[in-house]
Structures are given as structure tokens and as C-alpha cells.
Symmetry: C2
Subunit: 477 residues, 2 copies
């Protein structure tokens, strides 16, 4: 059984904590580990191979780093140049596995879900495996216990043992689009309805056969896109020119709703898709007033709130059923009944070209990261952190000079034909147009304050002459 972890989402419903360049799945929203790490780690048992990861290429360094922290190496990382929904993502994963001559069962898992009962998950996986071995396409269904209007529902042919394909797996009778509250309540009352979890188990060839017969365009494009991909060790860079032509579609629409082999295995394992701020509130333990408080937060006379302070003091007075999420460059205040509009808000901000939906003030790079702490028309101040042993690219700028002051650790600085070490409380000056590089030769993180001075301070004023991370895009470092 090979896990295929779908990690391509942009997580806009959890803005402003989730950003396009650092979305939801890579955040530690429900524990010490990130959702992505939790998803990988919960599969650490016998009979499950190392995962195959599908992610956006912008997130490749985050994926690598987060896998490194938990000591897992993926068997393959499929990098999408952009998202085309789940049907093509899983198709390319299946094609890759088949190309290696291994027609295994694929366990398709979104990277951004919470599951609290791992024993229940393993039981459901055993049932699903038996069904998938028989050629069935298993969809894990969450017993619908509340009338949620935000999920798709699946009606099974009945849950008595007669209608079971094998014990614990049931034939799908009908897929139901997100219902209104009245219908959702009926579904819960009548029983036999499940929420579509977006988790699947099927054999690679079975999925591809079904996809080819119902959506041959997707199948054909994915075959071509994989053929034209750039492969380097375990990393596959899907060909953008080809993948661009691929129709955007979900597994559900493209295959599951059409195939005759779909079945549901119920999964009652404390599942949540953490699909909104209110569902994040739900999965957390509350205090005596029903509040979930994170960070430097004080509340007075407030109830059933989710408050997440990241960079400063957050004070609440007399609020109820409200979500407050504070980050360094944006704060969002929403009534719980309005959290589904966050995505709409993010789209509106995107349309205005705002950066607050794309990246955090703290920007992550393979060598570490930086935090923009001050900016004016002709200057900018960054706090740069370089990991031990890491180095930025050899680079130059046409429009800005830089002053570097080491505040912790040791830096190796290259500036034109000079190379020297700087330690705490030492500084240097990088003139405009000089070829330079910053590296951390030490064993602890290097922290420097960079003061940029010049008439143009855009991140794209960079010429990369050499980069150990193989980057050619015009971004800092």
C-alpha cells in the first residue's frame, strides 16, 4: 500500500495564518507537528510503504524540510507547476508507480486533515484493503452525525450486513452535492449517509482504467506530462507546458461518481478536514468559557471564541462566537457564521494584488528565511536567519547596497574577490553591483540584520550566479 499524499492546496479558508507560499497543511494547527507531518506520521505501520507526495513546486523546500524534521524520506515527490485538482494529481502518481512496474494499492490522503483515533483508522484501512484487493474503489466515508452543509454526502445501499460487499464496505447508492440545512438534517436522521472525506484506496491500474474510460483527456495529458517531466533523484518536476492543458477536475467528479466499482468504508476516527476557522475551533480543547486562546491573548466576558495571536497582544472584550487571527501583517476578525466567506475575501484581496494573501512577513527559503522588519521609500531592514551549513546564492543587485550586521553566530562573507568571517557585533558593507554571498559555516543559526539602501528595493533585483539549491527564479537569496 503506497500513500499518495495530496499536498497541493492553498488553504485560503484559513487565511491569514495560511498563505499561498506557506499554506495550512504546513502549519502546526493541531499539535506540535504540522498537518502534513501528522498525515505522514500516522501511516508509520507495517504494510504501508514510504509516501509519494504531490505538491506545488513553490512548496518543495517546505516539504523537504518538514519530512527531514520527522526523519521520513518520500519515495517520490511529484511537483506540480500549478494545481489541476485531484484527478490529474492522482493520475500522475498512479502512472509513476505503474512505470516502475509496481501496480500497488494507492492510499490517497489529503495532507491537511486531522484524525485523532489512529486505531480506528487502521481498522478501516484493513477493511478497505480487502475491498480494494477485490478491485473495488474505496472511498472513506465519515458517518454524518451533524447536519453539516459544507460537505458532499454519500448515500450507501444500506449498512446491514446483507448489502455489504465485504463486512464493513458498502456499495455507493448516490452522491449528493452539499445540501442545505433541511436536507442535511434529514440525512442525519435517516442514517446511511456519509461525508466524503476525500480519502480513497484503490489499485493504481484500476484508477487509471476508470479514468481513461470516463475522462480520457485527463488520462492522455497526464501520460504526456509525466513523460516530459524532469526527473532528478526522487523528485519529478511535472512539465508545465503539457500540464497546463490538463482539465481541472476532482477524483469524485471524474471517476468516483461514474464508476460502478465505488464503495464506502466508514471511518469513525475523529476526522476533521479543518476546513474553516470554526472547524479548527471545534477540534481544540476549550477553556471554561468555551474559548480557544493561542498566543498573547487576554479576554474579558467573552465566550466560544477562537483567538490566535502571533505577533502582539490581543485583547477581547464582550465578544461571542468570534474568530480573531492576528499575524504580523494582517488581522482578521470574523463571526463564526461568516468564516466560509474568508475564501471570498482572500480572492478579493488577490484581485487587488495584495501580498498579504501570498506570503507572510517571515519568508521561508531553503537556506533559512527572513523577516522584513522595517521599510521606507529608499531603505528596507531584514532580519535574516541562515541555517548551520547553509548558504545563499552567489548574487548581485543593480539598485541596492546592503549593510550586514551579525547579531548571532558566524558568517562567511564573500564580496567580489574577498572572503572573510564575521562574528557577533561585526558588520560589513556590500556595495551596489558587487558579487556577494552569505554563508553560515558554523553549528548554530546565523542571525544578521540587513539594511538595504537604494532607489529600487524589489525582490527581483537579483542576478543569481550560482545556487546550491538549483534555483533560477528571481527571488531573494
Amino acid at each position: 500500500m503506497i500513500p499518495v499524499i495530496l499536498s497541493g492546496g492553498s488553504g485560503s479558508r484559513l487565511w491569514p495564518l495560511s498563505r499561498k507560499l506557506y499554506p495550512k497543511q504546513f502549519l502546526a494547527l493541531a499539535g506540535v507537528r504540522t498537518l502534513f507531518q501528522q498525515t505522514v506520521q500516522r501511516l508509520g505501520f507495517e504494510g504501508v510503504e514510504r509516501p509519494l507526495i504531490v505538491c506545488n513546486q513553490e512548496h518543495r523546500f517546505i516539504v523537504n524540510e518538514q519530512l527531514g524534521v520527522i526523519g521520513v524520506s518520500a519515495q517520490c515527490i511529484l511537483m506540480e507547476p500549478f494545481g489541476r485538482n485531484t484527478a490529474p494529481a492522482v493520475a500522475i502518481a498512479a502512472l509513476k508507480v505503474l512505470a516502475e512496474g509496481r501496480d500497488e494499492l494507492l492510499l490517497v490522503l489529503p495532507a491537511d486533515h486531522v484524525i485523532t483515533d489512529e486505531a480506528a483508522l487502521r481498522q478501516a484501512l484493513e477493511i478497505a484493503r480487502a475491498a480494494a484487493e477485490e478491485g473495488e474503489m474505496v472511498l472513506f466515508g465519515i458517518p454524518a452525525e451533524r447536519p453539516e452543509t459544507g460537505f458532499g454526502y454519500i448515500k450507501t445501499a444500506g449498512s446491514d450486513s446483507d448489502s455489504a460487499l465485504i463486512p464493513g464496505a458498502y456499495r455507493v447508492e448516490q452522491f449528493v452535492e452539499k445540501p442545505d440545512i433541511v436536507r442535511a438534517s434529514e440525512f442525519v436522521r435517516s442514517g446511511g449517509y456519509y461525508w466524503n472525506s476525500g480519502m480513497f484506496l484503490f489499485r493504481a491500474s484500476r484508477y487509471l482504467d476508470e479514468l481513461r474510460s470516463y475522462e480520457s483527456d485527463i488520462y492522455d495529458t497526464c501520460v504526456l506530462a509525466l513523460e516530459r517531466s524532469k526527473v532528478e533523484r526522487e523528485v519529478v518536476q511535472i512539465d508545465a507546458g503539457t500540464f497546463e492543458c490538463c482539465p481541472d477536475n476532482s477524483i469524485d467528479y471524474a471517476v468516483m461518481e461514474k464508476t460502478s466499482r465505488a464503495c464506502v468504508v466508514p471511518l469513525a476516527a475523529g476526522w476533521s478536514d479543518v476546513g474553516s476557522w470554526s472547524s479548527l475551533w471545534e477540534v481544540h480543547a476549550k477553556d471554561g468559557n468555551g474559548n480557544v486562546l493561542k498566543g498573547d491573548v487576554v479576554v474579558e466576558n467573552s465566550h466560544s471564541c477562537y483567538v490566535h495571536g502571533n505577533s502582539k497582544l490581543v485583547a477581547l472584550l464582550g465578544m461571542e462566537d468570534v474568530v480573531v487571527v492576528e499575524t504580523k501583517d494582517a488581522v482578521m476578525i470574523a463571526h463564526k457564521d461568516s468564516v466560509q466567506d474568508v475564501k471570498k475575501l482572500v480572492n478579493a484581496l488577490d484581485a487587488e494584488g495584495r501580498q498579504e494573501t501570498r506570503s507572510h512577513c517571515v519568508v521561508y527559503r531553503p537556506w533559512g528565511g527572513y523577516d522584513s522588519v522595517d521599510a521606507g521609500t529608499r531603505h528596507q531592514v531584514k532580519h535574516i536567519t541562515v541555517k548551520p551549513g547553509a548558504q545563499l546564492s552567489l548574487q548581485m543587485h543593480h539598485h541596492r547596497a546592503e549593510h550586514w550586521i551579525v547579531v548571532s553566530g558566524t558568517a562567511r562573507v564573500t564580496c567580489d574577490d574577498k572572503s572573510f568571517l564575521l562574528t557577533e557585533n561585526q558588520s560589513t558593507y556590500i556595495p551596489i553591483a558587487s558579487v556577494h554571498r552569505l554563508a553560515n559555516p558554523g553549528k548554530i543559526p546565523l542571525e544578521i540584520i540587513e539594511v538595504q539602501s537604494g532607489s529600487y528595493l524589489g525582490e527581483d533585483d537579483i542576478e543569481r550566479l550560482e545556487d546550491v539549491y538549483g534555483r533560477t527564479d528571481k527571488v531573494k537569496g
Copy 2:
């Protein structure tokens, strides 16, 4: 007529915008000018002398600067070492005026009120002047048109012309403490009730006579405190040791409720004490949804909110009757019904020793100011602005070195026995224990980035060797 402007408040009800070191009256909350400046400027007509200002000594540089901007020089600035409420503040002002042999009418005005109808104010002042000339103690009363529970009420003997002392001035029948909503509603219905505005007009000697007969302790202490004051040009530094012993009391309790000479002159002039965030919402023009939005704010499906963003994007979704005030180091979200609890919250934060109630990230100094933009255990980054022609003190630090990078303007740097100029994109290093000074010899503001490095970075690590502003307290610059 001499205005006595009471500017000693700490404005904690308007936290987090208002801070102890930069309170409400010095903020531009209702227009381009600050409330203090508006208060001074609205008295710019014939028959009114230059103002006498009572303020906390911590605010002296703010008072000076704000008067300078509007081109007004006070006839006297009385600096309190700490607040003792309004009765002593006005007593010292009256004693000062009498000491100069000028027994004038004193127009006592809080520095933090809004008045929109200046013509109505002038009319009321004319009536009040006539009454005060007769020896009356005039209290300006705001006709109670709404059942506010946050104000003290005054019942007059009747508003028909028979009971008027002179046309438009009425004898006080009764002072009423802040009523509950039922009584407040009765007052509004019955008529003849006024809110206590905290604005008064009386002759200096009349006030002192009454104070001496009802509160001789206050009178005697104030006489002594003024005698022992340090006077330099128009600035009076009230003696702390003496003033400390002065009872804390308001004009109302100490004199107005006891004297037989109290009368009310109605003032219907668009008055507001801007005493809470909801009253600030009231004085502003609203958009089509009843919202008042300031700064970088986006709202969706939200009504009757006051949102004030200062340092970052603020997004509101589905909120109603809510106040959101965002500053660089604190954000407050309060239901309008809870804004009276802001003071309680501030007191609680004070008790924990939190800095967020005392000062802003941006700290004002007579020479300019600074913004703390980044900090770690062994470093701190400040963006420092020095006004043209201004200079910091000649100083040294025992525990920190400083790196200065000029990002705009020109600096004159003194470091031990060297003195030199730095311009944009130039930098220098100030070693630990060197005697140094930063000055702006230019015509535009000097902006520098200062990176401090050391084992102790407290503001009190400073030895002042020389200061053009006469400061000896251990604060930066």
C-alpha cells in the same frame, strides 16, 4: 478671560491608541489636529487670553511640540509630577494667576473634548461671562437628550426665565451621580437636566475663596506646592514632595456641589467627551453600513463598527456593533456594550507590569523619536528619526555597542574625540563605553537604523553627559 486647559488625563478608556506616555488628548482622534490642539484653537477669539496649561510632566515635550505646530505659546505651563484630580490643578492655576496680580476669569476646559459648533460655544461663553462677572461659578451643562448612564447629571431650578439668574444661566438645584438607565430616561423625559461637561468659568479669587472654606487642606497644600515650585520662564514644575500630600479631589465634589454660587449655562454645541470608543464612533461620519473605518481596513457584511488599523491590514467579516483598534503592539476587539470595561482591562494589564499600556512602539522624544522594529536576546533594531537641527544627549552605554546606518538625511556623529558627517547609505560603529552623540545638522529629518548589540539592552543603560533639553532621567537619547 484666561483658559485653563486641563491636560493631565491618561485616557485609558481609549487604549490601545491612547497610552500613558501619549494619551488621548494628544491624538488626532477627530480631525487633522489633536484634541488638545483643537481645544486651544477654538479659543482663538477676542477677549480670551493665551492659555494656561496644566499637564503631567511626562508630557511636557508633547505639549510644547503640539503648541508649536499651531503657533500658540502658552502663558504658563504648570507641570504636575502626578495627577491629583481637577480641584488641585485648578487651584494652582488660580494661585499662579493671582500671584501675578491678575484676578481674571478662569475658563476651565478639559483638553480632550470635542465641540463642533463654535458659534454656540461663543454664545454660551458670553452668558457665562456675565454670570461670572457677578461672582457666580458657572458650570457648562450639556442638555441631556439621551439617557446616558456614564455621566453625572445636574438638575436646574427650572429653565423658565423667572428662575434664571441672568438670561441663560440657571441656579443648580441638585447634582445627581451617574444614574441607571431607568432614572436617566426619567431625567431626559422631565427636562431641566444637564450633563456635567467638566467645563467651568469663575473668577480666580472666587474659586480659591470657596475652596479654602470647603477644602482648606487642598488650598493650603496647593499654596505651599506652588511656593516650592521650580519656575523657569513660563514653565512651573510643581514640587512633588508637597503635591504628593495633596488630597485627590474633583472640582465638582470639592467646590461645585457645596457652594451656593453654582449655576448652569447650557451648552448645545455638538459636545462629546470622547470618553469611550463607542462615543468616538458616534462623533464620526459613517459609511452606508454605519461603519467608521480608518487605515487599511476591509469589511464584508459588517455593520455599525468602528475599525482603526494603524500598522497592518485589518479584515472584518460578519461583525456588528464592534470596535477594533489595531496598533503596532496590541489589538483590541470589543463589543460596543463592553467598551466601558477597557479601563478595567488596562488596569489589569498595568498590574501585570505590561508596557503596552504605558507607551507605543513608536516613542516620542524632544529631538524626534524611535520605533523598535526588531529585538532578540542580544540585539535590538531601532528606526530613529531626528528632527532638523535637533540632537540627542552626549551619552555612553556600559553594555551595548551600536551600529548606525543613515537611510535618509545627514547625521553629525560625535564618537569620543572624533566628529564627522554621515549621509545616506553610510554607516558607523559606536563601541561599548565610547562617549557619543547623534545630531541632525540638516534641513530634512534624519533617519537612521540603529542595531544594538550586547548582553543588556535596557533603556536605562545610559549615562547622560550633556543634554540640550535639560533631561537627567535615564531614558534613551
